[in-house]
Symmetry: C2
């Protein structure tokens, strides 16, 4: 269609500007500058190109929109309102107020139409790469001639801030390598950040950098007025099928304000008289607030209608597809519904005490291999540690652009490169594509999950099922030394709300960790897996471990309970045996996942860690946090050491003998006190 | 001097190769590939250019060398041995063994001659940028005509892995902006990473990217043999005074091995027969190990001698300088000796209860301003949040290249851009320049310190005094919402060994946090500072708060102890008053820094949190970890909410009334138990 912008477009643009302005002013908090500067491109994108159905925000083949510069969310809320999502003018008036659906930064699940949670800079950029990967993969997996069931675009707005962050650099480099033609980033090149002009810290040639990443880079020099140029740029971006596109759009931050083009309009409401002047300039009555002209309502209703029709067409297409490709159609329907394949869990291997001692990373490899055949939505990958993380199943196909001859988009193994933060944020985007369409598993060393802390946090806040395969999980990795040995890592992620940290002790527990990770559809999981071999334990089972904690060895009238995780459970068993020889009765409990254990009934929890005897924990990490479960704690509250694993364990006093000695000390202490011993659980339940 | 490589250079190169090979083989663990590939450039750099004095590793104007690809450390240890640092052949034979000085990755402080701890990829790259900033700053501050006291170069080796990491992208962009001509990065472009060829994930045009950052990029296409080209590249790099240089050096990983050029030689010892063949190829006796030909010993002794003379010359220069510029010379000497100026601490402001309520971030601004005048080595900065972090004192000069007209290299305020991870790792490099030459303070929101987790960890492991000014420290930031409100953050860094986390409650505590941060020369500090105003507390003092914890309000025969940090101390005071009215006697303790409190005597700690009454903690973060100090814990174990601060506090049950209610519950519980109440401290001391 030929592009014919008219005065109604200008009216709509100014409506967006004044609505966003009113929204920020009413809250007396927020960021007016970017919404005012980006109103033209926003209107243009959603009026002329964007496919979505506000009646059904989860319509699967909708275009995805990501506001990576999430502080500009007054813009996005305004737009969602105009398009007819369930975001009312009253909701706009509740911007940044308690329990509103218009929080200070966009949050997926809180506001209809928001795809990913943004605000922490750079995250949205990488999420968009993940959303684009998801489309490319699903398209390659399911589309047939004349049946392009998955062909949506991912549009992303980004500011200077996002582009300074390393996480976006990582994601951009990978997106270029992957030749994601379905990804269109619009860079709000307003040259202003909180500290002032970008001249003070960000003078690189962004366009050239993105060309170096093998992106198509387009330039719009007047993003305030030149609708024609914006239109053409988006068209050209859509036409390029083998490269992602960055549209460098020069805008004036806070366009219309007397302080436009300065950082004064970035992060604070505008002054009252400035607001009046702006409204007058744009032909709006300064005495009226939250005004949407009837014409603009009509226009946006027509865009919404276009979107509804887009979905209807898709439904029709899917029905036809169903008759020709019933199996694939059923798979799509199941995945959209967010269901795992029936009986998938039967693929999880079970183990008996006599079975070989195996490293839990190796057990994870076995499980991923088995799941790969029954759970087609499982997509694995690693940040360049494939032979160490063991994340790639036999005969896996790499997710690669066909052109490089190394795989294709239907491939289910992603080579993320040495980019942990990018990987985490991209995986968030993959998971955010919706339902069970894709379930990402991503590998690195446990210690380097910390590089991706920002992304893990947003997975948790956004309720995304991302599975971190975090191998080399303790000093047990040995020679690589303290730079690679996690100490604080697990405490960090245990303290993060809605994040399941698993540290399985053997084969059954590893199966359990995958079972719960796969079925926890609204929670990311970090599986901490050993480099070294671990014995198959007597008393473990998938069912028991799936409770997050259980009794491995029960003893009546115990003198002490030993509780441990992962590789140290075997140590506890060894110590219990040693204690037995000394006439001390020790129970052993395994606690592979605190978060899941907390969800069990109080009675159950107390049955695992009961009153009546002291509880001693053993874990080769910081002891911080263990007082929730135990009276005394063995661990490592310093950094580790470079040496063969056994030598390191010995150095830090983590041997069966050390545990036995410490047990005796705990028993003696409570004996001397002479009053009943209460489990920390029982105390917490009662205060 | 004209460059004349001869057969002795080749002999030296092959000596490095075989020594590194023997080192890895003896350990049966490590990375032989990069050392063998990078031996030529290493020999060339250290034989022809590098200034250092192995007799005095801390000679202040030495060139700095950073091995960002730290896994290649067998190369670095070999070189340190040859140069005559206190790294013996026996030390090489102890590679990766317990308590050796040759751990699996380079650790500063462990091995003489190691400048920064590397291994976690990308960190060394950014550290090198910090080291270069330090030189530039000190040169601009102290050098005079004919007295170039600070003119060293920083050389850094980097591999593909480092360049994929976002942290190096951030640092590279800033280094280009800052025009750091003293920084020379040598990129080992061997096209191999752990997963195999870089073709699978890293196909960007690295040279072009660095040009976009405004670096000089030089190419050496044969890094295995073409010594002439390597020499010229380094000369050209040194000649460019206004841009950092990246030398793209094509090498063959594992050069000499039958598997050279593959990932097979990256991270595992080579096979015995391969080792034999390599040694034969290089003219070494395969039956002999750790061999250094006499000629090579002589050569390296001459380089060491050159370095010792370099320092002698510097000493002479400094003596002359002293007579002309006694004040500056004394300042340099003081800073080299690692001493703060006498009486500096008198600049710390003290407060009385009647004084204005002020946000701790604002108090921090006041302190930075005062310290700026008495502690010239203090260098502040922010990741683009200057007006929020309040890190820039009045009339500060920006650290900028003169050319851009925005400051100069003598400036003490660094505009890091939105690059938290880069900022943290650069600050590590600044602090690592040595002694008290520079003390970096760096600002961002507390929540986004997590982006820099990798750098904070290395600051702690490396014993670097870096001061994080982490403002907007809780739900008290209000409207920005859960994406910006820290919950797990403080638990994370408290669990990190050797990291002081401060959360001051008022002016005196803020002064105390700076006092201890400045004097903790071997520990990084994170100062968690409020956005909102806090009252000046009755009972606080710099001296008391400097102990990390103290009694704010003492009561005899107390029914309960309330313990809190930061903004919640005021809440505890309010609750104590409320309880008093109900006839309940409540003591109040403040615990601004757990790590420092732990270092106090047992008696002191027990005097603050004594036996005899239940202890209730209040802190607007995760409750994880508090069981070390308290019986019951009030906090937030979910994500926060977007709303004005007061509304958010109320939502999460953090009001004086809530605290009073919970206190009563704790008192009742222990009363019912009917036995003495023991402080968690007393329990931990005894088990």
């Amino acid at each position: 269609m030929p592009f014919q912008p008219d005065e109604n477009d200008v009216l709509a643009i100014n409506t967006i500007r004044t609505l966003a302005l009113d929204t920020v002013n009413k809250a007396n908090s927020g960021h007016p500058g970017a919404p005012m500067g980006m109103a033209p491109i926003t209107h243009l994108l959603f009026s002329r190109f964007f496919n979505c159905n506000p009646e059904n925000p989860s319509y699967v083949n909708r275009d995805r929109f990501v506001l990576s510069n999430g502080h500009a969310c007054a813009l996005q809320y305004t737009l969602l309102h105009l398009l007819g999502y369930k975001v009312s003018l009253d909701d706009l008036k509740q911007f940044r107020q308690l329990d509103s659906i218009t929080p200070g930064h966009p949050e997926v699940g809180v506001t209809p139409g928001i795809e990913v949670t943004t605000g922490p800079l750079g995250q949205g950029f990488a999420n968009a790469v993940g959303l684009a990967i998801a489309q490319a993969h699903l398209g390659a997996s399911f589309n047939k001639d004349n049946y392009a069931l998955f062909d949506n675009y991912t549009y992303m707005f980004t500011g200077d801030g996002c582009l300074m962050e390393g996480v976006s650099s990582e994601a951009a480099s990978l997106a270029g390598h992957l030749k994601l033609g379905n990804l269109i980033a619009i860079y709000d090149d307003n040259q202003i950040s909180i500290d002032g002009s970008t001249e003070i810290a960000f003078t690189e040639d962004v366009a050239k950098r993105f060309e170096a990443y093998d992106w198509q880079v387009l330039h719009v020099d007047n993003g305030n007025d030149d609708l024609q140029a914006m239109f053409e740029a988006i068209e050209q971006a859509r036409a390029e099928k083998h490269k992602p596109t960055l549209i460098r759009l020069k805008t004036t931050i806070g366009y219309g304000s007397r302080d436009q083009g300065t950082h004064g309009v970035h992060g604070n409401p505008l002054k009252a008289d400035d607001t009046v002047a702006i409204k007058k300039k744009f032909g709006f009555d300064p005495e009226q607030f939250f005004v949407v002209p009837e014409k603009v309502r009509e226009m946006y209703a027509s865009y919404a209608k276009r979107g509804a029709e887009h979905e209807q067409q898709w439904q029709k297409l899917h029905r036809e597809y169903e008759s020709k490709y019933p199996e694939e159609a059923a798979d799509i329907a199941r995945r959209i519904a967010g269901k795992l394949p029936d009986g998938w869990e039967k693929a999880l291997p079970e183990f008996k005490p006599g079975d070989d001692a195996v490293a839990t990373r190796k057990l994870s490899e076995m499980i991923l291999g088995k799941l790969s055949t029954v759970v087609p939505e499982l997509v694995s990958g690693s940040a360049d540690l494939t032979p160490s993380n063991l994340t790639r199943w036999k005969n896996a196909v790499d997710f690669q652009p066909k052109e490089n001859g190394l795989g294709d988009y239907s491939g289910r193994y992603i080579r993320y490169g040495v980019r942990e933060h990018g990987m985490g944020a991209i995986a968030n985007g993959i998971a955010a594509y919706g339902g069970n369409l894709m379930v990402p598993a991503i590998g690195t060393f446990l210690n380097f999950v910390s590089y991706a802390a920002g992304a893990v946090r947003l997975a948790a806040l956004s309720h995304l099922r991302v599975i971190w395969v975090a191998t080399h999980d303790s000093i047990g990795l040995g020679e690589d030394g303290p730079t690679h040995q996690p100490i604080e890592t697990v405490a960090h992620f245990r303290a993060l709300p809605n994040c399941n940290v698993w540290r399985p002790a053997d084969g059954n527990e590893t199966s359990a960790s995958y079972y719960v990770a796969m079925t926890s559809t609204r929670t990311p999981s970090i599986l901490c897996l050993s480099r070294q071999n671990l014995n198959q334990l007597k008393g473990s089972s998938i069912e028991k471990a799936s409770k997050g904690g259980y009794v491995l060895e029960e003893v009546e009238n115990a003198d002490i309970t030993l509780v441990a995780t992962g590789s140290e459970v075997g140590l506890a068993v060894e110590a219990a045996e040693l204690l037995g020889k000394q006439g001390v009765k020790a129970r052993v409990a395994s606690l592979p996942c605190w978060e899941v254990f907390r969800q069990q009934s109080d009675d159950y929890k107390l049955s695992v860690l009961p009153d009546g005897a002291p509880i001693l924990s053993i874990e080769a990490y910081t002891t911080m946090g263990w007082a929730e479960w135990s009276h005394a704690h063995m661990g490592i509250d310093t950094f580790g050491a470079s040496a063969p694993a056994k030598a390191v364990y010995k150095k830090f006093g983590l041997t069966g003998e050390d545990v036995a000695k410490r047990s005796q000390k705990a028993i003696d202490y409570f004996k001397k006190l002479g009053h009943p011993v209460y489990s920390p659980i029982s105390q917490q339940l009662n205060i």
